[in-house]
């Protein structure tokens, strides 16, 4: 890119939606950053989406309200958008475009990084295999998170995705050397209270000074949201691959991001894909989610936990759908479990961690881990089928083994899934709870577990203290609110 062209244009041809079309262009490049001055002298930022035939289409991050055909100035500054980075960014709060938001001066930059990043060379990736203990049974036991994974939370309105993400951030940072851990949090169009909850949670656990926050709140400019995850991930990559930290990046809420993208696409009159979202939504989201991972020869890692709310709890909606096609699994929160007051209300059957297989087992967690998880999935899935059947034919219409499965389902929800907001379970405890549930089934049902592990861990009914744990432990405490 040629250096400092810095030509100022004043011929504005059109303003529509978030777009401004500048005329008489002689020098401008695709993706270039534009400094805009409104007739009132207010400064804004924009980016070139299309350039040619003497025109440039500029997307204005802060919106076009107050811009006019006459009196608006556009300066093309000859480079793409960049984020200044240095170790000083830790503990700081920025706005959705990466400008300080905490009243402190701009950190002194060690370098400037293009917020769009560059695609990691797959040949240079290090395959992620290190287990992250979150202390949450359902995650550690059945949806294991590994360093460098991208594992989103699919939520719905009103469900406790932020509480779960905050618990993960608090508890995951405890394990291992605390010093090389960092949290990058990007609020994308969320309410003030949600961002505040997260900040407080980091503060209380002492992790705030190892965190970087980017806040684009619900009343901040919508188009800015296109940039917020990008600046956040630029900083995350810097912390991980320049400074060697293990970074947990939480992006919430990607639905707001996608809506901003749709707004621009509509203004450009592009042929819409499903539900009006642009056909390139997949590629665009991939450019964000793929910025997670590990690299050969570098110490750090970027682990992403994006959060999105599924419109009308519909997992086939384009945003969760395309996200699921890109990320390495998903944690889906279930409305039914939430109504029952179970926290975390993770619907395990719809959830998945694709990198789990390489993060668990002998030498990493325990040799029976994957078989136990598989059997638990199987048992819970059967229990759900039986539950549905029982609603029609009643308990009397069920066979003996079906009844056992019915109880297993309840035990699973109450003794394994459910836990307190501040409860940090060890992996041993998680697996032990799992075996307790599996041991309530006859040994012959455990077809996914090798005989040697059954011998080692299966608890025969007489050695179990209470066979009726399902009911006993159904204590109602600490519901997510």
């Amino acid at each position: 890119m040629s250096d400092s062209i810095n030509i100022e244009y004043t011929k504005i041809a059109e303003i529509k939606g978030p777009l401004m079309i500048v005329d008489g262009i002689t020098q401008a490049s695709f993706d270039e950053l534009v400094e805009i001055e409104t007739p009132d002298g207010e400064k804004r930022l924009g980016r070139v989406l299309e350039v040619g035939h003497g025109k440039a289409i500029v997307q204005v991050f802060e919106g076009t309200t107050g811009l006019a055909i006459v009196g608006t100035k556009a300066k093309f500054i000859g480079k793409t958008m960049q984020m200044p980075v240095s170790p000083e960014v830790l503990g700081r709060v920025f706005d959705g475009l990466g400008r300080p938001n905490d009243g402190l001066p701009e950190p002194i930059a060690d370098k400037f990084l293009d917020v769009n990043g560059e695609p990691m060379n797959p040949e240079q990736r290090e395959y992620p295999t290190s287990f992250i203990q979150t202390g949450v049974s359902v995650i550690d036991g059945m949806l294991t998170l590994v360093r460098g994974q991208k594992l989103p939370i699919f939520s719905g309105s009103g469900m406790p995705h932020n509480i779960l993400a905050a618990q993960i951030a608090r508890q995951a940072s405890v394990v291992g050397t605390k010093e090389d851990f960092a949290v990058v949090f990007a609020a994308i169009g969320v309410q003030y209270s949600e961002a505040q909850y997260f900040k407080r949670s980091l503060e209380e656990s002492g992790a705030l000074r190892r965190s970087v926050l980017f806040l684009n709140l619900a009343d901040d400019p919508a188009i800015e949201r296109i940039i917020t995850p990008r600046v956040a991930l630029t900083v995350a990559e810097y912390l991980a691959f320049d400074l060697g930290m293990h970074v947990l990046a939480i992006l919430t809420d990607m639905t707001n991001y996608s809506e901003a993208l749709r707004e621009i696409s509509a203004a450009r009159e592009e042929v819409p894909g499903r539900k009006g979202y642009p056909g390139y939504l997949y590629t665009d989201l991939a450019n964000i989610y793929e910025r997670a991972g590990r690299l050969k020869g570098k110490n750090g890692s970027v682990t992403q936990v994006p959060i999105l709310s599924m419109p009308a709890d519909d997992i086939t909606h384009p945003i969760p759908d395309l996200t699921g096609y890109i990320t390495e699994g998903q944690m889906v929160l279930g409305r039914d479990l939430f109504r029952k007051g179970i926290y975390p209300s993770v619907n395990v059957l719809m959830s998945l961690s694709r990198l789990m297989k390489d993060g668990i087992g002998e030498g990493k967690t325990r040799s029976d881990h994957s078989e136990v998880a598989n059997q638990l999935y199987d048992a819970y899935s059967r229990s759900q089928e039986v539950r549905a059947l029982a609603e029609i034919v009643g308990r009397a219409g069920l066979t003996g083994i079906d009844l056992k499965y019915l109880d297993t389902g309840d035990m699973f929800e109450n003794n394994f899934l459910k836990q307190n907001l501040d409860e940090n379970r060890s992996l041993e405890e998680t697996l032990s709870r799992a075996w307790e549930i599996l041991s309530a089934l006859p040994e012959s049902e455990l077809t996914k577990i090798k005989d040697k592990h059954i011998k080692q861990y299966y608890r025969h009914q007489n050695q179990q203290q209470s066979t009726n744990v399902g009911v006993a432990a159904a204590v109602s405490s600490s519901n997510a609110t």
């Binding site: 890119m1 020098q27 401008a28 490049s29 695709f30 993706d31 270039e32 299309e50 350039v51 040619g52 480079k79 793409t80 293009d114 769009n116 560059e118 695609p119 060379n121 797959p122 040949e123 240079q124 395959y127 819409p272 499903r274 056909g279 390139y280 997949y282 590629t283 991939a286 450019n287 793929e290 991972g293 086939t316 909606h317 384009p318 759908d321 699921g324 096609y325 890109i326 390495e328 699994g329 719809m350 990198l355 598989n374 999935y377 199987d378 899935s381 059967r382 089928e385 059947l389 034919v393 219409g397 069920l398 066979t399 079906d402 040994e443 012959s444 077809t447 996914k448 090798k450 005989d451």
Partner: protein, 594 residues
Amino acid sequence: MVAKGRIIWVSGPAVKADGMSTVKMYETVEVGDSKLVGEVIRLTGDTAFIQVYESTSGLRPGESVTGTGQPLSVLLGPGIIGKIYDGIQRPLGEIAQKSGSYIGRGVHTDPVDMKKKYHFQPLVRKSDSVGSGSVIGSVEETPLLNHSIMVPPDFKNGTIVDVISEGDYDIEQVVATLETSDGKIPLKMYHKWPVRKPRPYTERYDPTVPLITGQRVIDTYFPIAKGGTGAIPGGFGTGKTVTLHQIAKWADSKVVVYIGCGERGNEMTEVLVEFPHLIDPRSNRPLMERTVLVANTSNMPVAAREASIYTGVTLAEYYRDMGLDVVLVADSTSRWAEALREMSGRLEEMPAEEGYPSYLASRLAEFYERAGRVKALGSPNRTGSVTLVGAVSPSGADFTEPVTTHTIRFIKTFWALDTRLAYSRHYPSINWMNSYSGYLEDVSKWWKESVSSEWYDLRAYSYNLLQREDTLKEIVRLLGPESLPDEEKLILEVARMIKIGILQQNSFDKVDTYSSPEKQLKLVKLIVNYHKEAQKALKEGITLADIRTMPIIPSILKAKFEITDEDIAKLDQLDKQMHEQFEKIVNQGVKLIV
């Protein structure tokens, strides 16, 4: 003669340039000061519409565009196997040496090592007359692969006037000289071929030999033939990639081309990390020695995603021409279709269904048409095959969307992945009611001759049980299992055994990951025999509860991972024990009744 023009417009991967009247359609061009690679996809007057294979960030009107005179081509010669390429055959390993952890722009590198020496063995002599496509020599590309050096298929027939003696040479070395009506032409160990042009062959044969993948639901229930086509559609997380990885690992082919088209970076890394350590059961060599990867991940430029499919299939055809069986898996063809859609949108073409261009169907047809079992051009006689398997990622897991519906028209094996099965952790989640294979009859002869004459009937018997269960499940859903007579309850029970003991296969278990055809057959036989015995026992008055709780059942269900291929005789023992246990309960039961 080369076109030299100027950029007049940039929007994402699409660029317009004028002054391009001499450029050809589909010619590759160098775009801008940093010489990005692009391809001409439309010409209007002297304006060329170009899709750029690299990020266009920072590109500006006024920068130059230069034609190369060449269509988008790949280099074909020794050194391809074991590599990972991007969508236009740039080696990612070598690119990393130049641009580090991230993929830089405008990096140009040879697709293969031009300096590496191979031991060349001439297979023609001076004054031999050879036709186009004929083998003139061979080199060992990897310990697993003898690479035939062939006269390029677009050369005329001629006479060898000179051939080099056996020895170690790099691939730039002229190894023979061919005299044709056009004069003397030097032949090197490599040539180039345009990716959008299928490589010619002499004759096509029907695919009749199954591609053995070691995956029970595929080989036994929905087989694919060598040279055939298959599609595996499914919503996210249903197991497309895992299944394609399994095929790439265990299929009995000589060469595997794995195309990661718009998918995850880590999935490519996984192949790169795993395959060098996995040992091919037939040759005892690392799988990487027969594998080549084409990787254009979801965050890499979208235009190169479109090209990656053609790059991959051209590499596959090249090895096919050596007389080898090649499997190509493409994950995912939907991302390729989306790349088409995106370029079409930028061209402002009239969209057909869901914004896809009207030529989506014909492009899909052209791609799958490049599969086949063929007699290669020239001498000696060689039969090779390209088997094409494409993943399809329907939006919202809805199989009525355009990419799925059009793909179905051009493929013969259909493995329908089912989100509900995946949720219940039935993996691979191939739905046995919705899937089909058009090769079933064709490959049954092979099974009969190579494994057992019982295969066809056992398969049909067990599949019939699954079909009956499917109908019975409806009744159970309304009235509960107790409403069925014992005969039918037994069917539910045995269907469950087929599902757990045969259809479900854990790719991540050392033993379960691959089942030999013999093992597959014995497992099916075991459960079919169980059903026959259990039916008899019911007739003898034994209760279903007694049959259901026979201690042998868990052993039958776990045989898939507890019994290895080496210990396959244990399956016969298990069969024997089962018969004995039935005998026992029947005798006891009869005694009780008397």
